[in-house]
């Protein structure tokens, strides 16, 4: 048995409570005494019992006849335990919907078949998209009141698609139901023979929530330090994402000190691997200063460590957001102060239009930039729901005033809408990176090409021989009928990166763009050769992370600086030494040698032929060609 969390949102009349009641009733989760109570309170003219009464909560709400908070409900079928976050649907309860959506793996969207898509349908879908709920089930309810009409159902499906294409929802299923009569909720309906799909419950039982958890990027926010005696110092926490095993190299943030995992300890014994959601205690091989709010990650797969954050924000408090006062930001187990430095826009949750705004009021959603006192260790929410979220707390009242979804570093902003970042669902569902909207998947291209795609990244000092070797490798591959592409430092700097200079920041951006371009060629099935000095390990690692495991070949084209200077094929070292060129790698800017490259070729000791063979051998060994 596993666990699935889903959220429902709806207004008084769309039958949400009836639907939940129906799920409980038909799966026999209603206890006899509750059923009696419901029968007692039912005020209907027909024989149906008021299933909605089952889910009604607090007395105040009963009096108002509406649900005003998130209510959590539980039921299970033989293979799955379900946790429902039941939320109200009115616009004034947007914050409740956001709360319910934050932990949901499926969003159940209810549409009254008589009314079709309403403003609130769009609002719910927008929130589901914003909160990155991986699956959506659109239940077209009250089919009994439209004569179980297939045409009406199709019409609503089309209406829905009209706007949902603008959103970022991966997986949408439509089910025509009648919660009141029980059609297609738990049991298949005899009234809609034209519908061949699964029932609502069947769909809920068969989505794969684990496929949406980020298994790739190991992030371990430390909750507390456990020190029972002098010989043991462990760090307790819940793995936010990714996996770790004893012996693996880690780095502690913010100190950036590296160590190795000594053991993964639990009361039930030591574990060989810890994965997403596991509450464990890690101990390390070295004494490093780790405390609550630290994050343990892999040394070669790190989150951004930043103080400027670009984020979507939902304001949840009656008091408006203020830019002239600090809030407390809580991100994983870390807390620090944060200012809202900029309101980028407010999104109209009904039309999805962006509006100008300089503050947010209760239930407003929009995009802001934040500045924090201490650095946070962030991932984009789309890639990692666990380390991409945060809340803001009012330090005076201690209330939770806002919920945030991180887009990235504030100066490094991704465009709005369906974005080109890899979501963790996509990463996970297949280790091969696939973008949304790619018509022909890379796998198909690879099959046609009869070889796999890869990015071969040649890094090294200017004059080390990167281009010479890459050209030769490409020619050989081309002669073998392979799809190839070459990206060269000088070429991209003419066009794509013509606006960039050679400061560390510009170099970083240059490499980032090249990485994205390389990834595009990669997706097209090419063996993409890139020759860039790319002096920083961090930048190269970032490109590695863009690609599936085993498809990035970091090639260190190694040649002593003296030899490169001597060669000085382009006369650049001379200019650098005289100061004519600033920030020249090896002279006035550093070069970080690759920590763990796939291939090292030495151009001072071996000839081009040998170097080329070494690279091709590596590709063959990895099964690329």
């Amino acid at each position: 048995m596993d666990v699935l969390r889903f959220t429902t949102a709806g207004s008084v009349d769309d039958g949400k409570s009836t639907l939940i009641g129906r799920l409980f009733y038909d799966t026999q989760q209603i206890f006899e005494n509750k059923l009696e109570e419901i029968r007692r309170n039912t005020q209907r003219d027909d024989d149906e019992i008021e299933l909605g009464l089952l889910t009604d909560g607090l007395r105040a709400e009963r009096e108002q006849g509406i649900t005003i908070d998130v209510a959590y409900r539980y039921f299970s079928t033989p293979d799955r335990k379900f946790i429902i976050a039941d939320t109200p649907g009115h616009e004034q309860y947007t914050r409740n919907m956001v709360t319910g959506a934050s932990t949901a793996e499926v969003a159940v969207e209810l549409i009254d078949a008589r009314n079709g898509v309403l403003e609130q349908t769009r609002r719910h879908a927008f929130i589901a998209s914003l909160l990155q709920i991986p699956y959506m089930i659109v239940a077209v309810n009250k089919m009994d009141l439209v004569g179980y009409s297939e045409d009406r159902f199709r019409e609503i499906v089309d209406q829905f698609h009209e706007f949902s294409d603008d959103l970022d929802i991966k997986d949408i299923t439509f089910v025509p139901i009648s919660a009141l009569k029980g059609d297609n909720v738990v049991h298949e309906s005899d009234n809609m023979p034209w519908y061949k799909g699964s029932t609502l419950l069947h769909r809920l039982e068969n989505v794969r929530p684990e496929a949406t958890r980020n298994q790739v990027d190991f992030r371990f926010p430390v909750q507390t330090v456990i020190r029972p005696h002098q010989d043991f110092r462990g760090f307790a926490g819940q793995v936010a994402s990714g996996k770790i095993r004893p012996g693996e190299e880690i780095v502690e943030l913010p100190s950036k000190r590296t160590s190795h995992v000594e053991s993964i300890t639990t009361l039930d014994g030591e574990m060989e691997e810890a994965g997403p959601g596991d509450s464990v205690v890690l101990s390390l091989t070295d004494e490093i200063d780790v405390s609550r709010g630290s994050m343990i990650v892999r040394s070669r797969n790190r989150p951004e460590m930043v103080r400027q954050i670009d984020a979507d924000l939902c304001w949840m408090n009656e008091e408006k957001m203020r830019k002239d006062r600090p809030y407390v930001i809580q991100h994983t187990t870390r807390r620090t102060q944060a200012y809202v430095s900029k309101v980028v826009y407010r999104t109209n949750v009904n039309t999805f239009h962006r509006e100008e705004a300089d503050t947010f009021a209760l239930n407003d959603i929009g995009r802001v930039e934040l500045e924090t006192a201490d650095p946070l260790f962030i991932d984009p929410y789309k890639i990692n729901r666990s380390t991409g979220n945060f809340i803001l707390i009012d330090p005076d009242t201690n209330e939770t005033v806002a919920a945030g979804m991180i887009r990235g570093v504030a100066e490094d902003v991704a465009p709005f809408g369906a974005e080109e970042t890899v979501t963790d669902e996509e990463r996970e569902s297949s280790p091969n990176v696939v973008w949304e909207g790619l018509n022909v998947p890379r796998e198909n291209r690879e099959e046609k090409n009869d070889h796999k795609a890869a990015v071969v990244w040649l890094t090294g000092l200017s004059g080390a021989g990167k281009s010479t070797i890459a050209k030769e490798v490409e020619q050989r591959l081309f002669d073998r009928d392979h799809q190839t592409m070459m990206l060269d430092g000088d070429n991209v700097r003419h066009g794509l990166c013509g606006d960039l200079g050679f400061t560390p920041r510009d170099r970083k951006e240059n490499i980032r763009r090249v990485g994205e371009v390389a990834r595009l060629f990669f997706e097209q099935g090419n063996i993409t050769l890139c020759t860039f000095i790319s002096p920083y390990q961090e930048d190269r690692d970032r490109i590695r992370e863009l690609l599936p495991d085993g498809r990035f070949f970091e090639v260190h084209v190694d040649c002593p600086l003296e030899v490169c200077k001597e060669r000085d094929t382009k006369g650049l070292y001379e200019k650098a030494e005289t100061g004519e060129i600033a920030n020249f790698t090896g002279v006035s800017a550093p070069y970080e040698e690759p920590e763990d490259p796939e291939v090292v070729v030495r151009t001072d000791e071996h000839d081009v032929e040998t170097n080329v063979a070494e690279i091709i051998d590596a590709l063959e060994e990895a099964g690329i060609v």
């Binding site: 206890f31 908070d69 946790i83 909750q223 462990g234 959601g277 666990s386 919920a403």
Partner: protein
Amino acid sequence: MTIASDTSKHLDWLESEAIHVIREAEAQFDNPVLMFSGGKDSLTMIHLARKAFYPGTVPFPILHVDTGHNFPETIDFRDNLMEEHDLDLIVGHVEDTIESGRAKEEQGPDASRNKLQIVTLLDTIEEHGFDVALGGARRDEEKARAKERFFSHRDRFGNWDPKNQRPELWNLYNGRSKKGEHFRAFPLSNWTELDVWQYIYQEDLEIPSLYLAHERTMFERDGVLLPKSPYNELREEEEYVEKMVRFRTIGDMTCTGAVESQATTVERVIEEVATTQQAERSARADDQRAEAAMEDRKREGYF
């Protein structure tokens, strides 16, 4: 596969979540305490607290409010458990509260000390300066609890205002508090009664014998099967009968009803729970007083 052995992933998930919440409570507050009732939920809580800090020890004391009307089995079980795991126990006595005149004993045949223990609880919390009390309450127990938070904010008077709770998103819990305020933390929020039983079975936890079917002298009142005890007097037309019963919750002897059962092992209890048609708390006479009974007591600080 039996229901008892069908454990695996969902229990791991619930356990991991509960441990996360327990650690958050410990880390965010200065002076936590774990509430112990002697029931299955609270012994599950103790087990989880041990797991949360292993190989260290449980870094906070255990608080039991003794109504003076407890089953003797409960007290024995409690003392053994504390000794076995070297836990630090604090007991608050309702008796003391009554003697000090801070509360008056209910009168009449349905008298219960349930309401009184709220005063004792709050007194003990204040006396020791606890700022968070961890409890084993679950959202599935009762309608009023469906909207309860993991970190539930209480005001100076221990009152719960359903309208003034902080939103809880993802797994971020906001435990910032002002001096004098305190919180309740409910790590088992997402568990159901069946989950708890399956977990007890999986972890092979020792449970009070009251939970297993045993022969006992009982009497029936308002459809509830109550145990013979020094604190209950028979009314007209009531009579003692010998029955095989087990208790589904463990509270005061005055108001904790039993169900007839032949389940003498945890496995068989699980089978019964899985197929039962009576919600858990319905065997407690105090919940039947009013439909919104639980909500009223919650507002006053009852767990």
